[in-house]
Symmetry: C2
């Protein structure tokens, strides 16, 4: 198994609402195979997919019941400390929910959280020890 991730699929209760958030709210461009059942966004070398939550559970042969904390978070790292508050505000205006306003955090960065309309958790963080290149690739080791 190579060391990589190809796709992150977020299960959504209402694809039109989720699409409104990511496509119209955040302004992300949908990849070509998107349709009424599934929406894809090309994010650098990986893909984010939006797909019905029930359909996703069925695809894996699992029961779709679930509640509470999902035990995972996505993160969007900013290029500057100043950007963090603006991104959180943008996500709120797009239909997301502010989960935690940004603050200075113990590891030396500045971060806050929002959730998308289906409750998927996104951290928005500035990490002065990591590297973000012009293309948006994120490298955790500063060197």
């Amino acid at each position: 198994m190579e060391q990589r991730l190809s796709l992150v699929t977020l299960g959504v209760a209402d694809l039109r609402r989720a699409r409104a958030f990511y496509t119209h709210g955040l302004g992300w461009v949908e990849a070509q195979p998107s349709n009424e059942s599934v929406v894809f966004y090309q994010l650098g070398g990986i893909v984010l997919g939006l797909y019905g939550r029930e359909a996703l559970a069925t695809d894996a042969g699992l029961d779709a019941e679930g509640s509470g904390f999902r035990g995972a978070a996505l993160a969007y790292n900013t290029r500057t400390r100043e950007e963090v508050d603006g991104v959180l505000s943008e996500a709120e205006r797009a239909g997301g929910t502010l989960v935690k306003p940004a603050e200075d955090v113990f590891w030396g960065g500045y971060s806050g959280y929002f959730s998308d309309p289906d409750g998927h958790l996104w951290e928005v963080a500035w990490n002065p020890f990591a590297t973000l290149d012009d293309a948006g690739n994120f490298f955790i080791s500063a060197d």
Copy 2:
């Protein structure tokens, strides 16, 4: 907000067990800032992090209680159809659980699912319509 994802953090109950799965079982190389509290893997231009589930919830100001389906899946796309079964077997040998054996799926690919020791869901898929480059970047549009 640019169109990108920087990091995926998986909350884990036991970091040593999770590390045993990804580092020793799958053979992934930890990035330099990993320590006893958090482990990072550089996956192309994004990063996968393993962090205590309780600590992750606390970081977002949320209650850590949660159960059932988490509403999301990660996916590892293979270069060939033949690889899929081997990757699922490798994940099982590493301490993961086979959730669904691979089968031909309606969209024309071949896919199955495993979960890691904390129940995080991974699809292993071959998608004949997508592109996987030598560096492991995945592009959903075939062109």
